[in-house]
């Protein structure tokens, strides 16, 4: 990595992973323009995710979903003082180069967009800008970290307003971390083979009992209770995609989800902020999504 004796070093592992540490306990909101970005910031978001269309619209409209227009990203970066993230397609290293040149604070190599490479993810070590990637299980998370991801999020099932897949992915992650921690040294190679995880990282997880980077919840979170449940399951923070700006009153719902994320262990506060939120986004039952249209299955 970019170590050395130089006085100042940018893009180090500590600097990349460190920004994700600062976002912990917070909510990162999907926004498509400056106005939404300002609402998100005023509602207490710790960062915003700039994209062309929220996942629910991508799902509804179909077609190829790509990186946002750079002018959109610029507009959002100018509107807020909090970190701005933006999505690149899986494997699309040039979209990532463009986002880095725009100066975004984090790049999400995201299954919400249409993958650009059906075999490889982006070599994230080649960038100064840190990356967040989705994962459904420990093996997938550790492959992404081995490629240079500095933050992980559950994939869930984006654009559905249905939290069930995010819960499944988080519970699976917790179970597999516990299995790794309980495994003896003599079992780690077999576990690495079965999960597709690089064995060195698996050994690190077995030793520490946790992922080496921050893990947020994403993909289907629509209510304050959803956010608090993901936090109680052990997530470090929350991404809300379509759930806020596809709801009846985005500012009120955004504030409520922020408060539920901080006070996730206090059901009275979660109850208080859940009152009179207006209409939640219309959800989708996972079984109603035709095979081949589940975003979580994108990524390798």
């Amino acid at each position: 990595m970019e170590q050395g004796t130089k006085a100042e070093t940018t893009g180090t592992l500590r600097v990349k992973r460190g920004l994700a540490e600062m976002l912990k306990g917070g909510v990162i909101m999907d926004v498509v323009n400056a106005e939404q970005a300002s609402i998100a910031e005023e509602s207490g978001a710790v960062a915003v995710m700039a994209l062309e269309r929220v996942p629910a619209d991508i799902r509804a409209h179909g077609g190829v979903a790509r990186m946002a227009d750079p002018s959109k990203v610029d507009e959002i970066m100018e509107a807020v003082s909090i970190p701005v993230m933006a999505k690149a397609r899986i494997g699309h290293f040039v979209e990532a180069q463009v986002l880095q040149s725009l100066g975004v604070d984090y790049i999400d190599e995201s299954e919400v967009l249409t993958p650009a490479d059906s075999h490889h993810h982006i070599d994230k070590w080649a960038f100064t800008t840190p990356f967040v990637c989705g994962a459904r299980n420990l093996g997938e998370a550790l492959r992404r970290i081995a490629e240079g991801a500095a933050m992980i999020r559950t994939k869930g099932e984006p654009g559905t307003g249905n939290v069930v897949e995010a819960v499944t992915h988080m519970r699976r992650m917790n179970r597999e971390i516990a299995q790794a921690a309980a495994a003896g040294d003599d079992q780690l190679m077999a576990l690495a083979r079965d999960t597709g995880a690089p064995v060195e990282l698996l050994r690190e997880v077995a030793g520490s009992g946790s992922l080496p980077v921050v893990n947020f919840a994403a993909g289907g979170i629509a209510t304050p209770s959803d956010a608090a449940m993901m936090m109680q399951l052990g997530c470090d923070g929350i991404f809300v995609g379509s759930g806020i700006f596809k709801s009846g009153d985005p500012a009120v719902r955004a504030r409520a989800i922020v408060e539920a994320t901080t006070f996730y262990r206090d059901p009275q506060i979660v109850a208080k902020v859940s009152r009179n939120l207006g209409e939640a986004m219309v959800g989708i039952e996972i079984d109603d999504i035709p095979a081949g249209q589940r975003m979580q299955e994108r990524g390798w």
């Binding site: 006085a7 100042e8 070093t9 940018t10 893009g11 180090t12 500590r14 600097v15 460190g18 920004l19 540490e21 600062m22 976002l23 912990k24 306990g25 917070g26 910031e41 207490g44 978001a45 710790v46 960062a47 970066m77 003082s81 909090i82 970190p83 880095q100 100066g103 975004v104 604070d105 984090y106 100064t128 800008t129 840190p130 922020v258 408060e259 901080t262 006070f263």
Partner: protein
């Protein structure tokens, strides 16, 4: 640690390793039994908003002005300041200084470096992440370290603030200073 948002866990580890007992503060009642306070790194706008909403601003100001040893890192430094350049956000005003947010730029400009600190023999490995700097200080503020001539570690009596993240390194010297103030 003020635990509304941010890297609370890293501070907890440092406190435990420096001989303290970490606990999390989310409500005014949580402030009653503490001997020292850490305001962690995070997003100062989000932390300030929640602190205001949940009635923590005045109790925090009172405890700090009554002598509670306090350390703020990054976002915590901003919250302890009396003014933010070009910003309008809730502040505790415990240190008479003007702070500039994101003073080094965006994440691509975030960096680590060896920082000389007054009175310390060895440099401190300082991690700056979208970090603030101090623009102007009042007469009573002691500057313990600067980066390119701008203060990044300051102290006044029992209140300390740094623009970098000592909690992300294995170096306990900054946390040790806070814990020594408790005795």
């Amino acid at each position: 640690m003020l635990a509304l948002q941010g890297d609370v866990r890293e501070h907890a580890r440092m406190v435990a390793a420096s001989g303290g007992i970490p606990c999390e503060i989310r409500t005014p009642a949580d402030l009653e039994d503490i001997d020292a306070l850490i305001i962690p790194g995070g997003e100062s706008t989000a932390i300030g908003r929640l602190a205001t909403l949940y009635g923590l601003v005045d109790p925090l100001r009172k405890r700090i002005s009554d002598g509670l040893p306090t350390l703020g890192t990054c976002a915590g430094m901003i919250l302890l300041a009396s003014e933010v350049t070009g910003g309008d956000q809730p502040l505790l005003g415990a240190l008479d200084m003007v702070v500039e947010r994101n003073a080094f730029g965006r994440q691509n400009e975030s960096f680590e470096c060896d920082l000389a600190v007054d009175g310390w023999e060895d440099a401190f490995r300082a991690v700056f992440i979208r970090a603030p700097v101090v623009d102007r200080t009042g007469p009573d503020i002691e500057v313990l370290a600067s980066h390119n001539g701008r203060p990044v570690l300051v102290r006044k009596d029992h209140v300390m603030a740094c623009a970098f993240h000592p909690e992300l390194t294995g170096d306990h010297r900054v946390h040790r200073m806070l814990i020594d103030l408790v005795a």
